[in-house]
Amino acid sequence: MILSIDLSGDIPIYQQIRDRIVEAIASGGLAEGSALPSTRQLAADLAINFHTVNKAYDQLRQEGLVRVNRKSGAVVQRDARSGPPTAQFTEEWQARLRTLLAEAVAHGVGGPAVLAACGTTLASFAPEHAADRTPEHAPGRTPEHAPGSASDPGHLTADLGEPA
Protein backbone atom coordinates (compact mmCIF):
# COMPACT_ATOMS: atom_id res chain seq x y z
CA MET A 1 0.00 0.00 0.00
CA ILE A 2 1.29 3.44 -0.98
CA LEU A 3 0.68 6.06 1.69
CA SER A 4 0.98 9.68 0.52
CA ILE A 5 0.95 12.40 3.15
CA ASP A 6 0.60 16.07 2.18
CA LEU A 7 2.89 18.09 4.43
CA SER A 8 2.03 21.51 3.00
CA GLY A 9 -1.73 21.34 3.61
CA ASP A 10 -3.81 22.14 6.71
CA ILE A 11 -5.01 18.60 7.44
CA PRO A 12 -3.16 17.14 10.46
CA ILE A 13 -0.79 14.30 9.59
CA TYR A 14 -2.42 11.78 11.95
CA GLN A 15 -5.77 12.49 10.27
CA GLN A 16 -4.24 11.89 6.82
CA ILE A 17 -2.65 8.60 7.94
CA ARG A 18 -6.00 7.46 9.33
CA ASP A 19 -7.91 8.56 6.20
CA ARG A 20 -5.46 6.89 3.78
CA ILE A 21 -5.62 3.59 5.70
CA VAL A 22 -9.44 3.66 5.70
CA GLU A 23 -9.37 4.30 1.93
CA ALA A 24 -6.89 1.46 1.41
CA ILE A 25 -9.21 -0.91 3.31
CA ALA A 26 -12.16 0.28 1.19
CA SER A 27 -10.28 -0.23 -2.09
CA GLY A 28 -9.02 -3.68 -1.12
CA GLY A 29 -5.39 -2.57 -0.83
CA LEU A 30 -5.56 -3.72 2.78
CA ALA A 31 -7.68 -6.76 3.64
CA GLU A 32 -8.73 -8.18 6.99
CA GLY A 33 -5.59 -9.60 8.60
CA SER A 34 -3.15 -7.43 6.61
CA ALA A 35 -0.22 -6.24 8.68
CA LEU A 36 0.55 -2.54 9.04
CA PRO A 37 4.02 -1.20 9.81
CA SER A 38 4.79 -0.64 13.49
CA THR A 39 4.31 2.91 14.74
CA ARG A 40 8.08 3.43 14.94
CA GLN A 41 8.69 2.08 11.43
CA LEU A 42 5.98 4.22 9.88
CA ALA A 43 7.18 7.27 11.84
CA ALA A 44 10.74 6.69 10.58
CA ASP A 45 9.47 6.30 7.00
CA LEU A 46 7.53 9.57 7.24
CA ALA A 47 10.31 11.27 9.26
CA ILE A 48 7.79 12.31 11.92
CA ASN A 49 7.33 11.82 15.67
CA PHE A 50 6.01 8.33 16.43
CA HIS A 51 3.31 9.80 18.71
CA THR A 52 1.66 11.15 15.56
CA VAL A 53 1.42 7.64 14.09
CA ASN A 54 0.25 6.33 17.46
CA LYS A 55 -2.59 8.84 17.40
CA ALA A 56 -3.71 7.66 13.95
CA TYR A 57 -3.51 3.97 14.91
CA ASP A 58 -5.36 4.68 18.15
CA GLN A 59 -8.18 6.33 16.25
CA LEU A 60 -8.39 3.37 13.83
CA ARG A 61 -8.43 1.02 16.81
CA GLN A 62 -11.32 2.90 18.40
CA GLU A 63 -13.19 2.75 15.11
CA GLY A 64 -12.74 -1.02 15.06
CA LEU A 65 -10.77 -1.06 11.80
CA VAL A 66 -7.37 -1.96 13.24
CA ARG A 67 -6.29 -4.00 16.22
CA VAL A 68 -2.96 -3.39 17.85
CA ASN A 69 -1.23 -6.31 19.54
CA ARG A 70 1.94 -6.10 21.55
CA LYS A 71 3.27 -9.14 19.75
CA SER A 72 2.03 -9.05 16.18
CA GLY A 73 1.87 -5.25 15.81
CA ALA A 74 -0.95 -3.45 14.02
CA VAL A 75 -3.29 -5.59 11.93
CA VAL A 76 -6.35 -4.67 9.87
CA GLN A 77 -9.36 -5.96 11.80
CA ARG A 78 -12.11 -5.76 9.19
CA ASP A 79 -12.81 -4.93 5.56
CA ALA A 80 -15.83 -4.75 3.28
CA ARG A 81 -16.28 -8.54 3.39
CA SER A 82 -16.14 -8.87 7.18
CA GLY A 83 -19.91 -8.53 7.56
CA PRO A 84 -22.38 -5.71 8.21
CA PRO A 85 -21.38 -2.60 10.16
CA THR A 86 -22.41 -2.04 13.77
CA ALA A 87 -25.52 0.03 14.42
CA GLN A 88 -23.43 2.59 16.27
CA PHE A 89 -21.16 3.05 13.28
CA THR A 90 -24.05 3.50 10.84
CA GLU A 91 -25.62 6.14 13.08
CA GLU A 92 -22.41 8.15 13.48
CA TRP A 93 -21.50 7.83 9.83
CA GLN A 94 -24.93 9.09 8.72
CA ALA A 95 -24.57 12.11 10.97
CA ARG A 96 -21.22 12.95 9.36
CA LEU A 97 -22.62 12.29 5.89
CA ARG A 98 -25.47 14.71 6.60
CA THR A 99 -22.94 17.48 7.31
CA LEU A 100 -20.90 16.58 4.24
CA LEU A 101 -23.97 16.64 1.98
CA ALA A 102 -25.21 19.85 3.57
CA GLU A 103 -21.90 21.44 2.58
CA ALA A 104 -22.41 20.34 -1.02
CA VAL A 105 -25.98 21.64 -1.12
CA ALA A 106 -25.03 24.93 0.57
CA HIS A 107 -22.38 25.45 -2.07
CA GLY A 108 -24.91 24.84 -4.82
CA VAL A 109 -23.91 21.34 -5.90
CA GLY A 110 -27.11 19.83 -7.31
CA GLY A 111 -28.60 16.48 -6.28
CA PRO A 112 -27.67 14.59 -9.48
CA ALA A 113 -24.13 15.95 -9.29
CA VAL A 114 -23.84 14.80 -5.67
CA LEU A 115 -25.11 11.33 -6.56
CA ALA A 116 -22.78 11.14 -9.56
CA ALA A 117 -19.81 12.12 -7.39
CA CYS A 118 -20.76 9.46 -4.84
CA GLY A 119 -21.02 6.85 -7.59
CA THR A 120 -17.65 7.77 -9.07
CA THR A 121 -15.98 7.68 -5.66
CA LEU A 122 -17.48 4.30 -4.81
CA ALA A 123 -16.44 2.97 -8.22
CA SER A 124 -12.88 4.13 -7.58
CA PHE A 125 -12.73 1.93 -4.48
CA ALA A 126 -13.55 -1.24 -6.43
CA PRO A 127 -13.54 -0.61 -10.18
CA GLU A 128 -13.38 -4.27 -11.12
CA HIS A 129 -16.30 -5.15 -8.84
CA ALA A 130 -18.31 -2.30 -10.33
CA ALA A 131 -17.82 -3.70 -13.84
CA ASP A 132 -18.86 -7.19 -12.66
CA ARG A 133 -22.05 -5.99 -11.09
CA THR A 134 -23.39 -3.63 -13.75
CA PRO A 135 -25.41 -6.29 -15.64
CA GLU A 136 -27.25 -7.24 -12.43
CA HIS A 137 -29.04 -3.91 -12.40
CA ALA A 138 -32.23 -3.12 -14.18
CA PRO A 139 -31.96 -1.01 -17.35
CA GLY A 140 -32.45 2.72 -16.82
CA ARG A 141 -30.20 2.95 -13.78
CA THR A 142 -27.00 4.86 -14.37
CA PRO A 143 -23.83 2.81 -14.09
CA GLU A 144 -22.54 5.07 -11.30
CA HIS A 145 -25.07 3.53 -8.97
CA ALA A 146 -23.81 0.05 -9.50
CA PRO A 147 -20.91 0.05 -7.02
CA GLY A 148 -23.33 1.22 -4.33
CA SER A 149 -24.50 -2.36 -4.14
CA ALA A 150 -21.13 -3.25 -2.62
CA SER A 151 -22.42 -1.95 0.70
CA ASP A 152 -26.11 -1.09 0.89
CA PRO A 153 -27.64 0.78 -2.02
CA GLY A 154 -31.01 1.28 -0.31
CA HIS A 155 -29.46 3.20 2.51
CA LEU A 156 -27.39 5.41 0.26
CA THR A 157 -30.25 6.43 -2.03
CA ALA A 158 -32.53 7.24 0.89
CA ASP A 159 -29.92 9.44 2.58
CA LEU A 160 -28.88 11.19 -0.60
CA GLY A 161 -32.43 11.87 -1.65
CA GLU A 162 -33.28 13.95 1.38
CA PRO A 163 -31.15 17.08 0.96
CA ALA A 164 -31.61 17.15 -2.81
Binding site: L3, S4, S8, D45
Partner: protein, 370 residues
Protein backbone atom coordinates in the same frame (compact mmCIF):
# COMPACT_ATOMS: atom_id res chain seq x y z
CA UNK B 1 59.55 4.62 -5.67
CA UNK B 2 57.41 2.06 -3.87
CA UNK B 3 53.89 0.72 -4.15
CA UNK B 4 53.05 2.61 -0.95
CA UNK B 5 54.11 5.96 -2.41
CA UNK B 6 52.20 5.35 -5.62
CA UNK B 7 49.15 4.49 -3.59
CA UNK B 8 49.22 7.50 -1.23
CA UNK B 9 50.36 10.06 -3.83
CA UNK B 10 48.42 8.99 -6.91
CA UNK B 11 45.93 6.13 -6.54
CA UNK B 12 44.17 7.25 -3.34
CA UNK B 13 43.63 10.91 -4.36
CA UNK B 14 42.57 9.72 -7.82
CA UNK B 15 39.94 7.45 -6.21
CA UNK B 16 38.66 10.38 -4.11
CA UNK B 17 38.46 12.66 -7.16
CA UNK B 18 36.82 10.04 -9.37
CA UNK B 19 34.16 9.26 -6.76
CA UNK B 20 33.44 12.96 -6.21
CA UNK B 21 33.33 13.54 -9.98
CA UNK B 22 30.67 10.85 -10.34
CA UNK B 23 28.64 11.96 -7.29
CA UNK B 24 26.42 14.61 -8.98
CA UNK B 25 25.37 12.15 -11.69
CA UNK B 26 24.54 9.45 -9.13
CA UNK B 27 22.57 11.56 -6.65
CA UNK B 28 19.43 11.88 -8.75
CA UNK B 29 18.09 14.91 -10.64
CA UNK B 30 15.98 16.38 -7.79
CA UNK B 31 18.95 16.60 -5.39
CA UNK B 32 21.65 18.57 -7.22
CA UNK B 33 24.52 19.11 -4.74
CA UNK B 34 22.30 18.17 -1.82
CA UNK B 35 19.64 20.80 -2.53
CA UNK B 36 16.07 19.51 -2.79
CA UNK B 37 14.45 20.87 -5.97
CA UNK B 38 11.05 20.13 -7.55
CA UNK B 39 11.12 17.97 -10.69
CA UNK B 40 10.08 20.98 -12.78
CA UNK B 41 13.34 22.78 -11.91
CA UNK B 42 15.87 20.02 -12.53
CA UNK B 43 16.80 21.70 -15.82
CA UNK B 44 17.23 25.17 -14.27
CA UNK B 45 20.19 27.02 -15.84
CA UNK B 46 21.89 27.54 -12.46
CA UNK B 47 22.08 23.76 -11.88
CA UNK B 48 23.63 23.03 -15.29
CA UNK B 49 26.07 25.91 -14.78
CA UNK B 50 27.14 24.75 -11.32
CA UNK B 51 27.52 21.16 -12.47
CA UNK B 52 29.87 22.35 -15.22
CA UNK B 53 31.86 24.55 -12.83
CA UNK B 54 32.21 21.67 -10.35
CA UNK B 55 33.53 19.32 -13.03
CA UNK B 56 35.90 21.97 -14.33
CA UNK B 57 37.32 22.56 -10.84
CA UNK B 58 37.70 18.86 -10.07
CA UNK B 59 39.08 18.02 -13.49
CA UNK B 60 41.52 20.95 -13.62
CA UNK B 61 42.79 21.26 -10.06
CA UNK B 62 42.44 17.50 -9.54
CA UNK B 63 44.63 16.74 -12.56
CA UNK B 64 47.29 19.13 -11.26
CA UNK B 65 47.19 17.42 -7.85
CA UNK B 66 47.47 13.89 -9.27
CA UNK B 67 50.21 14.86 -11.75
CA UNK B 68 52.17 16.58 -8.97
CA UNK B 69 51.81 13.41 -6.88
CA UNK B 70 53.04 11.29 -9.80
CA UNK B 71 55.95 13.66 -10.43
CA UNK B 72 57.06 13.58 -6.78
CA UNK B 73 56.85 9.79 -6.69
CA UNK B 74 58.94 9.48 -9.88
CA UNK B 75 61.47 12.08 -8.67
CA UNK B 76 62.68 9.90 -5.89
CA UNK B 77 61.85 8.26 -2.57
CA UNK B 78 60.39 10.65 0.01
CA UNK B 79 58.86 8.00 2.23
CA UNK B 80 55.41 9.03 0.99
CA UNK B 81 53.17 11.84 2.18
CA UNK B 82 50.70 9.59 3.96
CA UNK B 83 47.12 10.77 3.76
CA UNK B 84 48.01 14.35 2.77
CA UNK B 85 47.38 14.02 -1.02
CA UNK B 86 44.01 12.33 -0.37
CA UNK B 87 43.05 15.02 2.15
CA UNK B 88 43.96 17.73 -0.37
CA UNK B 89 41.80 16.01 -2.99
CA UNK B 90 38.96 15.74 -0.47
CA UNK B 91 39.25 19.44 0.44
CA UNK B 92 39.12 20.32 -3.26
CA UNK B 93 35.96 18.23 -3.80
CA UNK B 94 34.34 19.71 -0.69
CA UNK B 95 35.08 23.27 -1.83
CA UNK B 96 33.57 22.56 -5.26
CA UNK B 97 30.49 20.96 -3.70
CA UNK B 98 29.87 23.78 -1.21
CA UNK B 99 30.28 26.42 -3.90
CA UNK B 100 27.73 24.75 -6.21
CA UNK B 101 25.32 24.09 -3.35
CA UNK B 102 25.37 27.71 -2.15
CA UNK B 103 24.69 29.04 -5.67
CA UNK B 104 21.75 26.65 -6.32
CA UNK B 105 20.23 27.28 -2.89
CA UNK B 106 20.39 31.04 -3.40
CA UNK B 107 18.43 30.86 -6.67
CA UNK B 108 15.98 28.32 -5.24
CA UNK B 109 15.17 30.59 -2.31
CA UNK B 110 15.06 33.79 -4.34
CA UNK B 111 12.68 32.34 -6.93
CA UNK B 112 10.65 30.31 -4.40
CA UNK B 113 10.82 27.02 -6.29
CA UNK B 114 8.58 25.19 -3.81
CA UNK B 115 5.93 27.90 -3.56
CA UNK B 116 2.39 26.65 -4.15
CA UNK B 117 3.46 23.03 -4.66
CA UNK B 118 1.85 20.13 -2.83
CA UNK B 119 4.79 18.91 -0.74
CA UNK B 120 4.29 15.25 -0.07
CA UNK B 121 5.99 12.32 1.58
CA UNK B 122 5.20 8.87 0.16
CA UNK B 123 5.63 5.54 1.95
CA UNK B 124 5.25 2.01 0.64
CA UNK B 125 4.07 0.05 3.68
CA UNK B 126 4.92 -3.25 1.98
CA UNK B 127 8.61 -2.38 2.42
CA UNK B 128 7.93 -2.93 6.14
CA UNK B 129 5.29 -5.64 6.15
CA UNK B 130 7.10 -7.68 3.48
CA UNK B 131 10.69 -6.43 3.81
CA UNK B 132 13.51 -7.30 1.44
CA UNK B 133 15.40 -10.40 2.66
CA UNK B 134 18.93 -9.78 3.84
CA UNK B 135 21.45 -11.68 1.66
CA UNK B 136 23.07 -13.56 4.55
CA UNK B 137 24.62 -16.08 2.15
CA UNK B 138 26.88 -13.35 0.74
CA UNK B 139 28.52 -13.01 4.17
CA UNK B 140 30.01 -16.50 3.59
CA UNK B 141 33.15 -15.36 1.66
CA UNK B 142 34.13 -12.90 4.42
CA UNK B 143 33.50 -15.51 7.13
CA UNK B 144 35.47 -18.10 5.15
CA UNK B 145 38.52 -15.82 4.89
CA UNK B 146 38.17 -15.09 8.61
CA UNK B 147 38.15 -18.80 9.48
CA UNK B 148 41.09 -19.55 7.16
CA UNK B 149 43.11 -16.74 8.79
CA UNK B 150 42.26 -17.94 12.31
CA UNK B 151 43.18 -21.56 11.50
CA UNK B 152 46.43 -20.45 9.82
CA UNK B 153 47.24 -18.41 12.93
CA UNK B 154 46.65 -21.35 15.25
CA UNK B 155 48.77 -23.65 13.09
CA UNK B 156 51.60 -21.14 12.74
CA UNK B 157 51.55 -19.85 16.33
CA UNK B 158 54.28 -22.19 17.72
CA UNK B 159 56.71 -21.30 14.89
CA UNK B 160 56.11 -17.51 14.96
CA UNK B 161 59.12 -15.32 15.94
CA UNK B 162 59.30 -14.11 19.56
CA UNK B 163 58.87 -10.48 18.57
CA UNK B 164 56.16 -9.54 16.10
CA UNK B 165 55.98 -6.27 14.14
CA UNK B 166 52.90 -4.26 15.20
CA UNK B 167 53.31 -1.10 13.15
CA UNK B 168 54.76 -0.19 9.79
CA UNK B 169 55.83 3.18 8.38
CA UNK B 170 54.22 4.54 5.25
CA UNK B 171 56.83 2.82 3.07
CA UNK B 172 56.17 -0.53 4.71
CA UNK B 173 59.14 -0.85 7.10
CA UNK B 174 58.38 -2.15 10.57
CA UNK B 175 59.04 0.43 13.30
CA UNK B 176 57.30 -1.10 16.32
CA UNK B 177 57.52 -4.59 17.72
CA UNK B 178 55.75 -6.45 20.52
CA UNK B 179 56.43 -9.69 22.32
CA UNK B 180 54.53 -12.68 20.93
CA UNK B 181 51.29 -13.04 22.88
CA UNK B 182 47.87 -14.29 21.86
CA UNK B 183 46.79 -10.63 21.66
CA UNK B 184 49.57 -9.41 19.37
CA UNK B 185 49.59 -12.56 17.23
CA UNK B 186 45.85 -12.67 16.66
CA UNK B 187 45.28 -8.92 16.30
CA UNK B 188 44.72 -9.30 12.51
CA UNK B 189 42.06 -11.96 13.16
CA UNK B 190 40.35 -9.71 15.72
CA UNK B 191 40.47 -6.87 13.19
CA UNK B 192 38.89 -9.12 10.53
CA UNK B 193 36.15 -10.24 12.92
CA UNK B 194 35.37 -6.69 14.08
CA UNK B 195 35.37 -5.29 10.56
CA UNK B 196 33.16 -8.07 9.21
CA UNK B 197 30.78 -7.64 12.15
CA UNK B 198 30.57 -3.85 11.74
CA UNK B 199 29.96 -4.07 7.97
CA UNK B 200 27.33 -6.77 8.50
CA UNK B 201 25.62 -4.67 11.17
CA UNK B 202 25.66 -1.52 9.01
CA UNK B 203 24.25 -3.31 5.97
CA UNK B 204 21.61 -4.99 8.12
CA UNK B 205 20.65 -1.54 9.42
CA UNK B 206 20.32 -0.25 5.85
CA UNK B 207 17.66 -2.90 5.31
CA UNK B 208 15.69 -1.23 8.10
CA UNK B 209 16.37 2.31 6.88
CA UNK B 210 13.68 4.30 5.14
CA UNK B 211 13.16 4.49 1.42
CA UNK B 212 13.23 8.02 0.06
CA UNK B 213 10.38 7.54 -2.42
CA UNK B 214 9.44 9.95 -5.18
CA UNK B 215 5.77 10.86 -4.48
CA UNK B 216 5.16 11.17 -8.24
CA UNK B 217 6.21 7.53 -8.84
CA UNK B 218 6.20 5.75 -5.46
CA UNK B 219 5.85 2.14 -6.67
CA UNK B 220 8.70 2.48 -9.17
CA UNK B 221 11.05 4.08 -6.63
CA UNK B 222 10.09 1.47 -4.00
CA UNK B 223 11.10 -1.23 -6.50
CA UNK B 224 14.41 0.54 -7.12
CA UNK B 225 14.95 0.87 -3.36
CA UNK B 226 14.58 -2.90 -2.89
CA UNK B 227 17.03 -3.70 -5.69
CA UNK B 228 19.46 -1.04 -4.40
CA UNK B 229 19.48 -2.51 -0.87
CA UNK B 230 20.23 -5.98 -2.21
CA UNK B 231 22.97 -4.86 -4.60
CA UNK B 232 24.73 -2.63 -2.06
CA UNK B 233 24.60 -5.29 0.67
CA UNK B 234 26.17 -7.88 -1.65
CA UNK B 235 28.86 -5.41 -2.78
CA UNK B 236 29.67 -4.37 0.79
CA UNK B 237 29.80 -7.98 2.05
CA UNK B 238 32.20 -8.80 -0.79
CA UNK B 239 34.20 -5.70 0.17
CA UNK B 240 34.37 -7.15 3.70
CA UNK B 241 35.76 -10.37 2.20
CA UNK B 242 38.33 -8.36 0.20
CA UNK B 243 39.48 -6.38 3.26
CA UNK B 244 39.69 -9.64 5.22
CA UNK B 245 41.95 -10.94 2.42
CA UNK B 246 44.12 -7.84 2.79
CA UNK B 247 44.35 -8.53 6.52
CA UNK B 248 45.17 -12.17 5.80
CA UNK B 249 48.03 -11.03 3.54
CA UNK B 250 49.23 -8.69 6.30
CA UNK B 251 48.92 -11.40 8.95
CA UNK B 252 50.90 -13.82 6.78
CA UNK B 253 53.82 -11.38 6.60
CA UNK B 254 53.59 -10.40 10.27
CA UNK B 255 53.57 -14.04 11.36
CA UNK B 256 56.74 -14.64 9.33
CA UNK B 257 58.37 -11.69 11.13
CA UNK B 258 58.88 -9.78 7.87
CA UNK B 259 60.62 -6.46 8.55
CA UNK B 260 59.39 -4.98 5.30
CA UNK B 261 55.77 -5.30 4.35
CA UNK B 262 55.10 -6.15 0.74
CA UNK B 263 52.21 -3.82 -0.06
CA UNK B 264 51.01 -5.17 -3.40
CA UNK B 265 49.26 -8.28 -2.01
CA UNK B 266 47.63 -5.96 0.54
CA UNK B 267 46.43 -3.35 -1.93
CA UNK B 268 45.14 -5.65 -4.68
CA UNK B 269 42.19 -7.17 -2.75
CA UNK B 270 41.30 -3.87 -1.04
CA UNK B 271 41.29 -1.97 -4.35
CA UNK B 272 39.31 -4.74 -6.03
CA UNK B 273 36.71 -4.49 -3.26
CA UNK B 274 36.58 -0.70 -3.51
CA UNK B 275 36.23 -0.97 -7.29
CA UNK B 276 33.36 -3.42 -6.88
CA UNK B 277 31.49 -1.09 -4.50
CA UNK B 278 32.09 1.97 -6.69
CA UNK B 279 31.04 0.01 -9.80
CA UNK B 280 27.85 -1.18 -8.11
CA UNK B 281 27.12 2.38 -6.97
CA UNK B 282 27.65 3.79 -10.47
CA UNK B 283 25.40 1.16 -12.05
CA UNK B 284 22.68 1.57 -9.41
CA UNK B 285 22.68 5.30 -8.61
CA UNK B 286 21.70 6.62 -5.18
CA UNK B 287 18.58 4.81 -3.89
CA UNK B 288 18.67 2.74 -7.10
CA UNK B 289 17.74 5.71 -9.28
CA UNK B 290 19.56 4.20 -12.27
CA UNK B 291 18.13 0.70 -11.90
CA UNK B 292 15.63 0.02 -14.71
CA UNK B 293 12.06 -0.56 -13.56
CA UNK B 294 10.14 -3.39 -15.28
CA UNK B 295 6.91 -2.43 -17.01
CA UNK B 296 4.80 -4.52 -14.65
CA UNK B 297 5.61 -2.22 -11.75
CA UNK B 298 2.91 0.43 -11.86
CA UNK B 299 2.25 3.25 -9.49
CA UNK B 300 -0.73 1.38 -8.08
CA UNK B 301 -4.26 2.60 -7.54
CA UNK B 302 -3.18 5.18 -4.98
CA UNK B 303 -1.15 7.22 -7.48
CA UNK B 304 -1.23 10.79 -6.24
CA UNK B 305 -2.13 13.84 -8.30
CA UNK B 306 0.51 15.20 -10.59
CA UNK B 307 0.88 18.18 -8.24
CA UNK B 308 2.70 16.09 -5.62
CA UNK B 309 6.40 16.79 -5.16
CA UNK B 310 8.88 15.51 -2.58
CA UNK B 311 8.72 17.84 0.43
CA UNK B 312 11.53 20.33 0.90
CA UNK B 313 13.60 18.85 3.75
CA UNK B 314 16.66 21.09 3.33
CA UNK B 315 16.33 22.57 6.82
CA UNK B 316 17.23 19.24 8.49
CA UNK B 317 20.50 19.03 6.54
CA UNK B 318 23.10 21.14 8.36
CA UNK B 319 26.75 22.08 7.87
CA UNK B 320 26.75 22.34 4.10
CA UNK B 321 23.96 19.78 3.78
CA UNK B 322 26.30 16.96 4.78
CA UNK B 323 24.81 16.12 8.18
CA UNK B 324 21.22 15.19 8.94
CA UNK B 325 19.76 16.14 12.32
CA UNK B 326 16.02 15.82 13.01
CA UNK B 327 14.97 15.18 16.59
CA UNK B 328 11.40 14.28 15.60
CA UNK B 329 12.59 11.58 13.21
CA UNK B 330 13.09 8.12 14.80
CA UNK B 331 15.26 7.02 11.85
CA UNK B 332 18.85 5.97 12.56
CA UNK B 333 20.18 5.76 8.98
CA UNK B 334 18.92 7.99 6.19
CA UNK B 335 19.92 8.05 2.50
CA UNK B 336 22.67 10.55 1.73
CA UNK B 337 21.80 13.51 -0.46
CA UNK B 338 25.14 13.76 -2.26
CA UNK B 339 26.82 10.59 -3.47
CA UNK B 340 25.84 7.04 -2.66
CA UNK B 341 24.88 5.36 0.58
CA UNK B 342 23.57 6.36 3.96
CA UNK B 343 24.35 8.77 6.76
CA UNK B 344 23.27 8.86 10.41
CA UNK B 345 20.50 10.98 11.92
CA UNK B 346 22.39 13.08 14.47
CA UNK B 347 19.07 13.97 16.09
CA UNK B 348 18.60 10.37 17.24
CA UNK B 349 20.33 9.55 20.58
CA UNK B 350 20.92 5.96 19.41
CA UNK B 351 23.22 7.36 16.70
CA UNK B 352 25.76 8.06 19.45
CA UNK B 353 25.89 4.33 20.24
CA UNK B 354 26.59 3.49 16.62
CA UNK B 355 29.29 6.16 16.31
CA UNK B 356 30.97 5.00 19.55
CA UNK B 357 30.90 1.42 18.28
CA UNK B 358 32.55 2.32 14.99
CA UNK B 359 35.03 4.82 16.49
CA UNK B 360 35.86 2.33 19.24
CA UNK B 361 37.14 -0.20 16.69
CA UNK B 362 40.50 1.49 15.85
CA UNK B 363 40.97 2.40 19.54
CA UNK B 364 40.46 -1.21 20.60
CA UNK B 365 42.88 -2.38 17.89
CA UNK B 366 45.48 0.11 19.13
CA UNK B 367 45.18 -1.16 22.70
CA UNK B 368 45.40 -4.77 21.55
CA UNK B 369 48.66 -4.34 19.65
CA UNK B 370 50.37 -2.08 22.23
Amino acid sequence: MTTGEWFSNVIAPLLVLATAWLAPALSGPTLPFGVRVPAAYTDAPVIARQRGAYRLLLGGAGAVLVLAGAGLTLAGPHGGYGALPSLLALALCLAGYLRARRAIRAVKQREGWFQGLRQTVAVDTSLRTDPERFPWLWAAPALLVLVVTAVTGVVRYPSMPDRLPTHYQGAGTADHFAAKTLGSAFAPVVAQAALTAILLLLMWLTFRSRADLDPARPAATAYQHRRFLGRMAVAMLLLAACIDLTLLAAAWQIWHGDRTLSLTPLLVPALAGAGLVIGTAVLSGQNGGRIPVPEGVTNGTAAPDTGAVHHDDDRYWRAGGLFYANRQDPALLVPKRFGIGWTVNLGNPRTLLLVVLIAGFPLAMDLLTR
